[in-house]
């Protein structure tokens, strides 16, 4: 091949032996290089198709190369965002589950004294919390919080996709943290820490 030195970009050399499509190295096989074209770029009728063919081949190679390079960086940036939200959602659901179980227990083991009063008070609140929990599991599901996300920047915005996801989920999670009163429950951890020190 006598034209190796004429390639303007180094990437082409890298890709020559990877891609079978139509990088510069294999141009003798491509229909664009048929003898009719040999008259040169001055021939106007074949130029658009030649251009389309080679731009497309370059585009395809470029996408493939860059995509593989950036999947990992996208993953590394997204993981902590998802993890953080996962912990917060888990905390909300865990508190609700713990409360429901605690109240369940009570109903099962309640003694005969003032059973009626207990039942009215307990079951009503228990039912309310149970209903809350059902709604929470729905609203805090993956599908509800991240559904419809394709990772592409919203029209007009050039935010990273993980920031969009964070903003969208943040509202829902914050709402539930307020409903469940997570900070109030966490006070006990702070108290304990003081106790131990």
């Amino acid at each position: 091949m006598g034209n190796t030195g004429q390639r303007p970009l180094a990437e082409n050399d890298l890709l020559d032996d990877i891609f079978a499509t139509s990088p510069p190295g294999s141009r003798t096989l491509s229909p664009g290089a048929s003898p009719q074209d040999a008259v040169g770029p001055d021939e106007p009728s074949d130029l658009p198709s030649l251009r389309r063919q080679h731009v497309t081949a370059g585009y395809r190679d470029g996408v493939f190369f860059a995509r593989n390079q950036h999947v990992q960086s996208g993953f590394d940036a997204g993981f902590p965002v998802g993890a953080q939200l996962g912990i917060r959602v888990g905390t909300v659901l865990g508190i609700l589950e713990g409360v429901i179980k605690g109240l369940d227990n009570k109903r099962g083991s309640s003694s005969s004294q003032s059973i009626e009063e207990q039942k009215t008070a307990g079951s009503l609140e228990g039912e309310q919390i149970r209903r809350l929990y059902t709604v929470a599991t729905k609203e805090l599901s993956l599908a509800s919080m991240f559904g419809g996300m394709d990772g592409n920047p919203a029209a007009g915005g050039d935010d990273k996709p993980e920031m969009q996801a964070k903003r969208k989920a943040e509202m829902i999670v914050a709402k539930w943290e307020k409903i469940v009163g997570v900070p109030k429950w966490e006070e006990i951890v702070d108290d304990k820490a003081v106790e131990q020190s």
Binding site: G90, G94, L142
Partner: protein, 191 residues
């Protein structure tokens, strides 16, 4: 091959190719990033959900322990679910409604250890092998602790609990040797 004749054309082909290649790199970088990103957010979410769940349960258990030590009649009847229908809020006071907790320093210790294990503020959430394996180690230990505590509190295992415990059991290799010893002792506390 007569390169003198082909030179002009080949140069042009290279230019076209490179023009497309540059466009492709831009689009591919964005597509690749987005693809990895969306996948990672879901993975991270799923991986840490159980972690948070145990933390939440631990907070409730800790609250119940504290409440059971306090005067049961004090402030009885405080709002458990306060606010109107639109602004419901679950208060820790709800634990006063729950049955008394079995006494025992071991249970208290288990709850404290559980809360330390799943304390979100001491956790690195980066996607590094070290951070991931620490999360998995701590989760494994926390699942076992939670199981002990749950029994001590006399709580039934729900279907979802059993699944989590089952999967934890499957992946358990070494674990902490104290698990089985504390297991039997907490069974005696149960009533």
């Amino acid at each position: 091959m007569d390169s003198d004749i082909f030179d002009g054309l080949l140069q042009l082909e290279d230019e076209f190719y490179n023009e497309g290649y540059k466009l492709g790199v831009t689009d591919g970088a964005q597509a690749g990033y987005a693809e990895g990103n969306v996948f990672a957010i879901e993975k991270g979410f799923e991986k840490l959900l159980e972690f948070g769940r145990l933390y939440g349960k631990g907070l409730v258990w800790a609250q119940r322990l504290v409440v059971s030590e306090q005067d049961q009649t004090a402030e009885y009847g405080a709002n458990i679910v306060s606010g109107g229908a639109e602004e419901l809020s679950v208060e820790p006071a709800v634990c006063r409604e729950m049955p008394c907790v079995p006494k025992g320093t071991r249970l208290r210790k288990n709850v404290r250890v559980l809360l330390e294990q799943v304390d979100p503020s001491t956790l690195s959430l980066d996607n590094t092998p070290d951070a991931i394996s620490e999360v998995e180690e701590r989760l494994k230990g926390a699942v076992l602790k939670a199981k002990l505590i749950q029994r001590a509190f006399g709580e039934r295992e729900t279907a979802s609990d059993s699944i989590h415990l089952q999967s934890a059991k499957d992946t358990q290799t070494s674990g902490d040797g104290s698990g089985s010893i504390e297991d039997s002792s907490s069974l005696r506390v149960r009533h």
